[in-house]
Subunit: 153 residues, 2 copies
């Protein structure tokens, strides 16, 4: 049966909603194998763990654990991956990236596509709504998460 | 007093040596502020913590903790940063990168230099010796750390 990117995205979106409920940055991600089997899932934990290194994608990658390589995996994320997470996808040669939306933020996914990664951008309204609301409510936290000086600094 | 990149590198090299002594991937890193004050240090912990997300640079970044931004910091690493760690430097707009060596592995530092990052490449023989010995002894672990299928796979 072919993989349905929307089904994979549903897992990442669930993680993003958990992150929102916890008062964190509402971005979720999950790593699957090429047959759609879940390897690891997670959400941004900057606030929850007071840890700037735990973006959604790195959390999902961590949860998937050590593997000989990742060339048979699919990274799914609710938001276009920032350069940090795009670098993760490139270094570990993850061949397929599913993205909920990139209208609120565009990271490195065009760069990854240029390096041969298959990119499915789903323009998911629920993902966009999550980020739009978050950026409106917590512009300072969002600026911190992507390393930009807050306008209030 | 001007910052001496060699002095900063000594901290990262100490971390790399700790990693070697623990049986891990011998790469170390440290994050400093622009005045040379240490913010965080660490080494690759793939083996020690069974965690593929903890490269030396991400470990040092994590140890430095949450900051409003990182635009006044210096990332120091014993080895040219892989794409994952180069992406970290780019996303968080870390303006200065000090590298022990890039003869055993070249990651994204030329890309970062092209995006305005100051890159000091020190060609440090001790850093090169650490990696040369490690790659000879554990080619499988090295391949895993950078997401390449091992030749024995």
């Amino acid at each position: 049966m072919p993989i349905d990117p929307q089904q994979l995205l549903a897992v990442a979106r669930e993680e993003a909603e958990l992150g929102r409920a916890e008062g964190g940055v509402p971005i979720g991600a999950a790593l699957f194998d090429r047959d759609g089997r879940l390897l690891g899932r997670g959400h941004n934990r900057r606030v929850q763990d007071d840890d700037p290194s735990l973006h959604a994608e790195t959390t999902a990658f961590r949860a998937a654990g050590r593997r000989p390589h990742y060339r048979d995996t699919i990274m799914v994320t609710t938001l276009s991956p920032c350069w940090y997470c795009s670098g993760l996808v490139r270094q570990f040669a993850i061949p397929h990236l599913v993205i909920g939306e990139s209208s609120t933020f565009t990271g490195g996914h065009p760069w990854l596509a240029g390096h041969g990664v298959r990119v499915d951008l789903l323009d998911d309204p629920a993902c966009t709504a999550l980020m739009t609301e978050f950026i409106r409510q917590r512009p300072d936290l969002w600026a911190e998460d992507i390393g930009e000086p807050s306008t209030s600094d």
